[in-house]
């Protein structure tokens, strides 16, 4: 076995890679963590409209300390700004946007994604100390597309792209694409298909870090 030289994407590079694939005009909800960073990498001239569960549509960049409106936060409870054209709605209407299939895209983090598109991202066991789900199940079930941003493996090297999720599910067969620090993979009826990998990485090396079977996309 030959060692291949490659550099995994860091969080910023991963967010930038995802941002490349979001076309103008899409309505997008970003989960907490790496997904939130994606907004910073969409050029301002490309009009992508970001939504937050707590009733904000048209989120702009994070405000300077002097420009903070203490009444304007996102679902991660961070201060945000509203861009011209933005709007507010109450929670039932905000989740009408989510559950009614109106979002073109949602990007979430995950613990595991299975080859059939199952996602596990809210609990690490069935008897969590104090479970919390937030809007994850609504977003996963409701958005037109669900993309996942995550590390390809856990810190101790366990694959996160699996044949079957071991953690409690957030939704079944919901994920359409996974962006990891190593590769971009589509979820297809035939399983994971690799769209691209970081330079220097081989399919065999990627497979060694993946529980599910993977193949190159056509």
């Amino acid at each position: 076995m030959t060692e291949t030289a490659y550099t995994p994407r860091n969080r910023t590079q991963l967010a930038a890679r995802i941002a490349q694939d979001i076309p103008e005009g899409w309505y997008v909800n970003l989960g907490i963590g790496i997904p939130t960073l994606v907004a910073d990498h969409v050029p301002p001239a490309r009009e992508v409209i970001f939504h937050a569960e707590n009733g904000v549509l048209g989120i702009g960049p994070a405000p300077d300390a002097a420009a903070v409106d203490p009444w304007l936060i996102n679902a991660g409870k961070q201060y945000v700004s509203l861009r011209p054209g933005g709007s507010f709605m109450h929670h039932a209407d905000s989740f009408t946007i989510i559950r009614g299939g109106h979002l073109n895209l949602c990007i979430l983090g995950a613990y595991e994604v299975a080859e059939n598109g199952d996602i596990a991202n809210w609990a690490t066991s069935a008897d969590d100390a104090a479970p919390a789900v937030g809007g994850a199940m609504d977003l996963a079930a409701g958005a037109q597309r669900l993309w996942i941003a995550m590390e390809h493996t856990t810190k101790d090297g366990r694959p996160r792209l699996v044949r079957q999720c071991s953690y409690p599910l957030t939704a079944r067969a919901a994920v359409s694409r996974v962006y990891t620090n190593l590769a971009v993979l589509d979820v297809t009826p035939g399983g994971f298909r690799v769209r691209d990998m970081v330079p220097g990485l081989t399919l065999a090396a990627l497979q060694a870090l993946t529980d599910a079977e993977i193949a190159m996309a056509d």
Partner: protein
């Protein structure tokens, strides 16, 4: 003359019984009627079922109500308090019941209660632990879970402006669950930052019409602090 304003927190909360189900607006630190919740602590009501998105924020309001042991059951999507373990401790010690509900299902169950809809089907949570024990059904090839309306005895709302008919506006993301809880309870009590003369609120901007509101108290407590 209709005048829903009352002069004090105590009179706003008058008549709330032990064992009530209390619906709370608010998301994180923004838009939660903390002064009214503090009033509940002071009033001494107990054995409450509280419906809220989070388990409070900071140490006041819902976090205080929990700490004081007044809540028997929390219906919640994200029972966390940043920087606090009040809820986790109560839960671990078996001193509080938790009904964990996806955030959109929580909002829709209250909207349904307000709209006279006893139950509805949703794709959210289908095939997950949170759907266990619930009726589910396939419609057009997809599995949906039956969820029931969630009614409150009392709703506590924080508004930005209110007039004497109880018409309300909100500020920015302070709207959140407030209009939803306002329509889902038999007794809706509002604390407002500002008072508006009747007729001065733009009818196009009233997010909660006064028909949903029973009592209003003016509590200009300032901005939320994260």
């Amino acid at each position: 003359m209709i005048d829903k304003f009352v002069n004090s927190v105590a009179s706003a909360l008058a008549g709330i019984q032990d064992g009530s189900t209390i619906l709370l607006g608010g998301f994180g630190a923004v838009g939660q009627a903390n002064q009214l919740i503090e009033g509940l602590v002071e009033a001494g009501v107990r054995d409450l079922t509280v419906v809220a998105n989070n388990a409070g924020f900071g140490t006041a309001g819902l976090a205080h109500l929990l700490r004081a042991g007044r809540v028997r059951r929390l219906i919640c999507s994200f029972p966390r308090i940043p920087g606090s373990t009040v809820f986790e401790t109560l839960y671990r010690d078996g001193k509080i019941e938790l009904e964990l509900v996806p955030q959109g299902t929580l909002a829709e169950r209250m909207r349904a209660a307000g709209a006279g809809i006893p139950a509805f089907y949703t794709a959210t949570s289908a095939g997950t632990l949170l759907a266990e024990g619930k009726e589910s059904r396939e419609i057009n090839g997809r599995t949906y879970v039956l969820e029931h309306a969630l009614h409150g005895d009392v709703a506590l709302v924080e508004a930005w402006r209110a007039d004497r008919w109880g018409n309300l506006t909100y500020r920015a993301s302070g709207r959140n669950f407030n209009p939803v809880v306002a329509m889902a309870a038999r007794l809706t009590i509002v604390q407002t930052q500002h008072v508006a003369e009747l007729g001065t609120l733009d009818p196009e901007s009233i997010a909660t019409p006064g028909i949903y509101v029973n009592r209003v108290v003016h509590l200009p407590h300032g901005d939320p602090v994260l």
